[in-house]
Amino acid sequence: MSPRRRTGLVPYLLSLPAAVWLGAFFVLPLLTILGVSLMTGNSIDGWTLTWNFSIFGDAISTYSTQFGRSFLYGGISTAVALVTMYPVAYWIAFHGGRFKSVLLFLLLLPFFVSFVIRILAWQFILADDGIILSALKDIGLVPADTHVLSTPFAVVAGLTYDALPFMLLPLYVALQRIDPAHVEAAADLYATGAARFRTVILPLSAPGIYAGIVLVAITNIGDYLSASILGGPSTTMIGNIIQTQYVNNADYPIASALALILMVTLMLAMAVYARVFGTRTLQEHIG
């Protein structure tokens, strides 16, 4: 064996642990899910692989409403989180001074409590006779039969609320890395405040926006807690369906098929998004 050939193998050997890891904890489970989704049977007789590809068509046609709703709610909550968190991250990054860490810590503090507990707290706060609505009703600002819980608004609000830190952190990191000299240079060249933001700060923070959107959208589209705790009779998301089919009905094929469809759709969406927006801005700033 020539020495050249041996060195050719070294990179592969070095990447072996990572490959084994990926294979065991990502590829194998994924293939198993794919296998299970193509099976037919029931919990008593067991399931056999019958290459039942029609399940994907059935799953999409039966649950298209819930799929659509998941992407709608996920999309809205991501957009709202971005719009609300950008100014916050901006302010902390540029005007936080020596209180930066303290401010960040305070913003993240509520998120040390479990999501379930926080969302249950919202259920309490937003109750029909709860502290907010009863006060508003007493002073006559809203009609007496107003309710917030059990509406799409409540579900989207819950999703948005949980997304805030995951949006804030990447935005903050991107904004904080911007060299103030760039902004000053733009000012020296007679750029107005709006122009400085549009042509310098916004493009330079694009990787943060991209990372925030990816993080939040993926989690929120697959979420089921917000809908099950704050939702109403017509706010079921695809995560709720997967959970019920898997745990309550032990219908593993349909649950696996739905999970796969969700995953593939998300990956396609992210790939398209990365091509159109993500990698270009990333290349622009790195290259």
Partner: protein, 423 residues
């Protein structure tokens, strides 16, 4: 933005055709190495597909004890071990700072330590946790579990995952158990189960907001309460209520009845009457004023009244109420079956049952506990409540659930009712 797009021309899409590119795209140039790699890939994919075809997922059929097993002889060989493991639901036994008085008294009297674990949150989840273990022929680590009547319990029985109870070791059950809980339709002759506590699914309403009389299941369809009606997210409860509203007896219903009930329930949802399909949280929704009228479990309402929600009223509608039972059972492979049997015999004694019932407030399986609660325990509120000790008139309105005949049957039920809950 948009500077990046101008600097770099996008890829060749739409550009002039290049002969070298065309050649590269159309003419295959397989090297030997690429061929070998490709073949290996196809082989790997093929063998994986083969492996998947071969394995599948095993079912639960024939994973329990074998037909004709001599349980009488088996019980004869068993001996008291001095300990047993008991899985129950939270807040389902009497409780003080020093643990449960009844469990402590039992330990003292018989020298049996009870490892009491309130780990069961709902039937489906608990069943999903224990079924792989039972399926692989191993002990789940509990000698007694409490599961409600329903599809999970039916599977436990059909899969032969339960040890038939030794009736010779439970004389107090034979003597004191209420007639209404003996020999239920899902377990004739109490072969595998005895009731821990039972309850009814009826209607609860808020007297602050509703001043007319509520006496019918149809009241849950009243447009006057639009957006303030709570229904249960459990498809068994919901479907049964739909049938009661139509005057159909769930126990002997057919899939055609289920569809009619589903149509009625769908109407209710589409008319905007249903506020939400609730799990256990329905009681909080009632207390918070999110709902004014709701499907409800008797014990929850009784406890809510005791803890200050006096505006809540529980009614047994004219059409009837669903009567459910939470059942004690001994899972197959249990290591301490005799100790568990001794506990069954113990907790059916009226003084013991009085302590448990006075704390739990669901329907007591032992009517003779009533005078003890009224007398010695001095708690007339509980003793005189028809929700704890139902009157004969009330018992005549108890309706039993449909018991699924098999997995196809059960799947048909869920496929009819789940789309209403999860739309």
């Amino acid at each position: 933005m948009g500077r990046g797009g101008e600097q770099e021309p996008r890829s060749s899409a739409g550009g002039p055709a290049r002969p070298d590119l065309l050649r590269g795209l159309t003419e295959p140039r397989y090297s030997r190495r690429r061929f070998v790699r490709g073949a290996a890939g196809i082989l790997a994919a093929g063998s994986l597909a083969g492996a998947l075809s071969a394995c599948g997922i095993a079912g639960t059929r024939d994973t329990g004890w074998e037909d004709g097993f001599d349980w009488k002889a088996w019980w004869g060989e068993q001996e008291q071990q001095g300990t047993f493991d008991f899985a129950n639901w939270p807040l389902y036994i009497d409780r003080t700072k020093d643990g449960s008085p009844t469990l402590n008294a039992f330990s003292e009297k018989y020298g049996i330590t009870v490892n009491y674990r309130p780990v069961i949150q709902d039937n489906a989840t608990f069943f999903a946790q224990i079924s792989p273990v039972l399926q692989s022929g191993q002990s789940i680590g509990y000698d007694m579990v409490v599961i409600s009547n329903g599809w999970e319990l039916t599977q436990m029985i059909k899969n032969h995952w339960l040890i038939p109870l030794d009736h010779s070791r439970m004389p107090s059950f034979e003597r004191y158990a209420a007639q209404s809980i003996r020999s239920p339709n899902y377990d004739p002759g109490n072969e595998f189960t005895v009731t821990w506590q039972s309850g009814i699914t009826g209607i609860a309403y808020d007297t602050d907001n509703i001043d007319r009389e509520i006496n019918s299941i149809k009241d849950l369809w009243d447009p006057a309460f639009a957006g303030k009606v709570g229904m249960m997210a459990d498809d068994t409860e919901l479907g049964s209520f739909g049938m009661l509203a139509l005057g159909i007896e769930p126990k002997s219903s057919t899939p055609a009845d289920w569809r009619r009930a589903a149509d009625l329930l769908r109407e209710q949802r589409e008319a905007g009457i249903v506020r939400q399909y609730y799990d256990q949280s329905y009681i909080k929704a009632l207390e918070q004023g999110d709902t004014w009228i709701s499907m409800a479990w008797s014990g929850d309402v009784f406890q809510a009244q005791l803890s200050g929600s006096e505006n809540l009223e529980f009614v047994v509608p004219d059409e009837g109420v669903m009567f459910w039972q939470d059942n004690c059972m001994i899972p197959y492979h249990a290591a301490h079956p005799v100790d568990a049997m001794m506990w069954i015999d113990y907790f059916y004694r009226p003084p013991v049952q009085a302590l448990i019932t006075d704390w739990v407030n669901y329907i007591s399986p032992v009517p003779d506990a009533k005078p003890i609660i009224a007398g010695e325990l001095d708690d007339p509120t509980v003793a005189n409540s028809p929700l704890v000790f139902p009157t004969p008139e009330m018992e005549s309105k108890f309706v039993a659930y449909y018991d699924p005949t098999g997995v196809e049957d059960q799947l048909e039920w869920t496929s009819i009712f789940d789309p209403i809950i999860q739309s």
